[in-house]
Symmetry: D2
Subunit: 430 residues, 4 copies
């Protein structure tokens, strides 16, 4: 039924050569966990059920305002992007869904696209609208913003685009719309904060009204960029106000790179969960701003702490806990397939580690204010090398024990560099 891009034989052979070492590592870890009363297979099974969506746009090389350095063989349309996503899923087995972005992924036949994805072992996740860029032939410019623009016509255009995204998403089998707007200002005084939010809310309400009953509308806040003085939905507080006003099926999406310096993001996760408005995640990592680096590459411990909240919430859910998980990264210097395989593994690893936390012991230490014991209960789970669990989970699902080695051996990118049309010079727009 499915026709995967990499030869299954290659993967199988590759795994065979690594099987024995994996068995030793997995069994050793199993004995160790057993001494703490944890069954390693149960954790492995949790990992196998875990998944995160990949972004269609993440399959191409990203760039900065200064430059983009194209890569031979990178995809230039949604069909090629799906093929690359299929490689990621085939080898990693934790990314069965693709989050599309419109108009970037527009095609004529969405039923056909859904079928094509299915044939590659994939389905579609949350749909992303784009009102931060002008498109050829577009009637109204987003220079003045989109859902919050002072121009009624521009707002209407932005509303209609979002509604169209919902329509497309229905055809693709999606169940969520992610709304991120670049609306904001570069100068004090450029717009009035209150009236901008009023306009945003009024326009967003019209999008919300078009939402099917079983869909979620995800609001993504961002501190800055492309606007550099203020952004309309700049922080989780603004996002919460909007989600509260828009309605039950509107929730807040956390992108790990969209916060002020030093902010405790894991507490924001807990706060939005407390308010019943935690909608989902855009995973990535950052050191300075919205750097869109590979998940876990800069601060793997913070990613673990985020998952500690998620696993805690899973065990003690408050109303409406059902977050959507997506990767959202910009792969400026790596092969995006490798980066997303690495990221998905880092994310799944944090989920595994958070699943290893002895939560009864943790809660007891917290109740007793035994600070050191509470800290070490959490930390000892973080320090466990869950690599063998992840590898075993991949192997059992048909993926690669050593995804990097298998991918490189497959020479997939080289073949694509022969087949695909080259991408032009990305000159930057400083």
């Amino acid at each position: 039924m499915t026709n995967l891009p990499i030869s299954s034989d290659l993967v199988a052979e590759h795994n065979t050569a690594r099987e024995e070492a994996l068995r030793d590592d997995y069994d050793s870890l199993g004995r160790r966990l057993e001494r703490s009363g944890i069954a390693i297979d149960a954790i492995k099974d949790r990992v196998k059920q875990w998944s995160v969506a990949v972004p269609s746009w993440g399959t191409g090389r990203g760039g900065t305002r200064f430059a983009k350095f194209a890569m031979a063989g990178e995809p230039t349309n949604i069909h090629e992007k799906l093929e690359d996503c299929s490689v990621i899923q085939q080898l990693g087995r934790s990314t069965p869904r693709v989050s599309p972005h419109f108009p970037w992924d527009k095609v004529d036949d969405y039923a056909g696209l859904a079928e094509e994805a299915f044939g590659l072992g994939l389905s579609f996740d949350a749909v992303n609208s784009n009102t931060f860029q002008n498109q050829p032939g577009q009637a109204h410019s987003y220079e003045t913003g989109s859902l919050s623009s002072t121009s009624q016509a521009t707002r209407q255009q932005a509303i209609e685009h979002n509604v169209e995204c919902i329509e497309i998403g229905r055809k693709l089998g999606s169940r969520a719309l992610t709304v991120w707007v670049g609306d904001g200002t570069n100068f004090p005084g450029q717009q009035d904060f209150g009236r901008s939010l009023d306009r945003y809310l009024e326009a967003a309400a019209q999008v919300y009204r078009a939402l099917p009953d079983d869909w979620t509308m995800l609001l993504e806040h961002k501190m800055f960029e492309p606007a550099f003085y203020s952004s309309v939905i700049s922080d989780w507080g603004s996002s919460l106000i909007a989600a509260q006003e828009l309605g039950e099926r509107c929730r807040c999406l956390i992108d790990l790179g969209h916060h002020a310096p030093n902010v405790n993001i894991e507490q924001i996760v807990a706060r939005l969960h407390h308010a019943g408005k935690l909608g989902g995640f855009h995973f990535n990592d950052s050191k300075y701003g919205d750097d869109d680096l590979d998940s876990g590459s800069i601060d793997p411990h913070q990613l673990f702490l985020v998952f500690n909240e998620l696993v805690e919430a899973e065990r003690n859910p408050r109303s409406g806990f059902d977050p959507a998980y997506m990767i959202d990264q910009s792969h400026n210097v790596t092969d995006p397939i490798e980066s997303m395989l690495s990221s998905a593994e880092a994310i799944a690893g944090c989920y595994a580690r958070a699943s290893l936390v002895d939560r009864a012991a943790l809660q007891e230490a917290q109740e007793c204010n035994d600070v050191m014991l509470a800290f070490r209960t959490l930390r000892s789970a973080y320090e466990i090398d869950v690599g063998p669990i992840l590898a075993k989970a991949r192997q059992e699902q048909g993926g690669a024990i050593d995804w990097l080695g298998a991918y490189r051996e497959s020479q997939y990118r080289d073949r694509k560099a022969q087949e695909r049309k080259p991408v032009g010079l990305g000159a930057g727009i400083v």
Copy 2:
């Protein structure tokens, strides 16, 4: 009736010598404003009606965990503090109210204290509770937090202290309770974010229930310090959640130094106003953290932008707009009287500048997306030197044109250094 600490003759003489220069400056500015259609006297009258409370604790030298350098003549009890506040009000005429702090300002006779303040030309503003320090003889330690402590007895003690503060405040004529807790953690895992907030909300609800009908309960959030990994009410989003849950008369108080780096505080002002939860301000300035520096000393333009929101809100109020204004600073290297006079002037100056903004022109430029014109409409008001307006307002109310000169000429501090008992070495608690 009132018996002010500085000789009125001294102030009057001091003013006489500066009157002519002030008249020239005031008239010159008047002509200039008139050319823009603004009547200078109307602005001056607004300034005269404006006021901000000073904190009783701000009259003493502040310090850091490393050291406190005491100053000869600083006050050591609420009576001496009131006397110093009276000097500030006498010379500056914009700080007629004092915000007390308990147990620091405890006395036996609160009716007498209110009378004493009245005799000094003062009254009392919002009451501040203190559950971040242990007091001699206290039954339960706040080491584990206060309103959010896992210990029921500790929470109860914190609740009772807040209720007692309300009781005292009623006797003093206050109408608001400011609640800031230092509750938080220093280690990941030390406490559970969700359960900590649950406990906080349950305890705070009991304080809220004790609130008189015409009182406001002000929640003050803070990013960090004394807790260095997480704080229970760390940001405006958390504060909003709490204020929403606690009730109509619970609002959020913004301390300008309690935010993450780079955050757009003026937009937070607008957002809380939009949500009907803007309760008040603790004015100060900062460069790094909760530095508690003099208002406007580091970023005077940000203070102006905050007031731009406040004057805008005053003209276009949403439900419940009636914020309380307080100074909250730590005067580590200056005479606190001088610092608070300087700060009150800086704050009033921003109010004056924000009042000078041509709001019709600003809104029109915003509607037209004339970014440069909108920016310059705001900026041109900021650049006006409102010193003459402030000085005239002081003079007309009996204050000093040149408050620094008059204060120093009065030798008030030298006299107090003779009269008051010296403060011991502040050795720091690193």
Copy 3:
């Protein structure tokens, strides 16, 4: 000789209508300053002698990685850019020099270009090289960095480009080369910090060796972007190390937006001056990162504090004080001509305010540790509205009292929108 883009009659008429008001404001301020012992004309003369270079690339609309919103009538080649710079200088009279950027400003005939500039009332300032983008037909990609690349051929290409920039600069009458590299990494481990700096220094030394005797080589550091984990020359310390090693005529250039959050930039100015390595400035403003906003638009007080250091250094120069001043901004939502006029005025205004500081009083207060007096001595200069001084200086040099009004009345941009070829869609490179 010169043939300026705006009708002189228009400017003159425009000024006539504003002359009387300006005279009143200028005279009023003059009386006020005289009372402090300052001759207003002396300050005005200082302002007239002050100038700052504008960047050729700043005349076009800037953008972000998400989008660029083109503006009708924006320039698309160096000739049109020079024309726009001429407008800025004609109306503002403080920006007589243009800083070019190669290969963006490449032409066949540099002698002709210099003549062209001269005819527009302009000359050329520091030359900027570009090794952060690939150019069509370029042999080696800068994907791996430029002066610090592991590839010897790439480093050589970058060296040769810089040397070519010097050659072009000589023909244009420049006397400085500004070197900013985007070299850095996105992942921990991607490169070795020490060996990267070794390669950079070795390559930069070859550029330095090509420097004419009367030239300065300016090293521009930047914390992040386009590299998001580390940058080779990321901070002033790294820049200092490099400048010390490269030689006497190598100095450090400070871009106001290239620092970590909260950093005290004015102290960095003082430190580099102390080390004899303060080479120059790229003026702009920012709230979050390298936002490249208009100078003084976000934190005008910080700009003043920077100039306080510069005027102090001017009065008490240490070895080699002769900084180069340039604007470096990205005008994403305004007409770049208006933004640069506004910015140049903001910069000159800070220079004027810093010139008004009573430095003898300041130093005396500092020596006495009279903190409040020292602060207020500085602050009182900042609060002076120097607008009349700047306007008078412009008027006397043939510029416009009200540059914004005059510019708009001239309908310059509208005319250019007719004449110039339109700029395509800037689709962003997320």
Copy 4:
């Protein structure tokens, strides 16, 4: 000879019960490392040779300006502090040296103190001077700063105190003086940046002249606190300038919590090493400012990256590489003994992980710009759970496999709570 505070039998028994599990974990890891060509015993031997000093002041409870919550049984003099340090060393076996602080650790008989330490299995590391606090009976106040004060007498007092510290240190067997000053300002204009540094350098030169030939003078920079606008030695650039001017034996000390937000500290390590001025470390962790949290508790990956630089430098030393390692933390909510055991283990763990990096593979990937491979080469070492190596190293040296369990079983603190005099209320100095 030595008389350690905890019963050796208790430790031995405790270890016996954990020996078998450790053997399995150690052997399993050994097999795994062997498959990568690494001999686990070689890494274990490196760990055994590794050590870090503990601060005498860190044995007591720390606090903030708001409060200090004392702990029963905390030490109140250097003798008790040494006893606690001895426990740390006995159980953890990686902290054989104590860094003293004067005047806090003053005694009459330093030869006796050195002997006392020796009897507890300890010796003395770098001496810390204190010129940020006034001491009883001190002639001149440090309110105006110390080495940079405008007051010549104050500077002289600070110089003499540092020289006295050197004298004491000689008696104690120290070989380094750590100089951190709190000098700085709270207001723009309070002091002149250049003249402050001049005074600092002149005074520090006098301290340097008193330095024995085999000593190092370590300059510790800090961004802010206790000064909140500027600090004289605020960043590594300022520290470098000072160390360069003072002389060969003057080096820079990095405290991990003294930097601006987002700064790449591991690159600063590399830069100071490149400049031949990397002197040493104060290990701790932080999320917001100088939080002085337990090493590795907030960002364990950053600590690893720092050690990656140190191990790299060890293998490819440039001139003068011989850094001093110290812990510098404030234990506000934990038992300091537990915190320092935990911290020392975290630090040693990072050293072990950094020692596991396949540096040949890393360098080759860097040379080839194989970004993903370089990243994963580093990351795979970080993800190894080195716990068994650390535990084995402890056990072989007489320490405890499970230091927390053994310490608690010993009931050391309870006994001290009986023996030692209680510490008073720490009321804070807001």
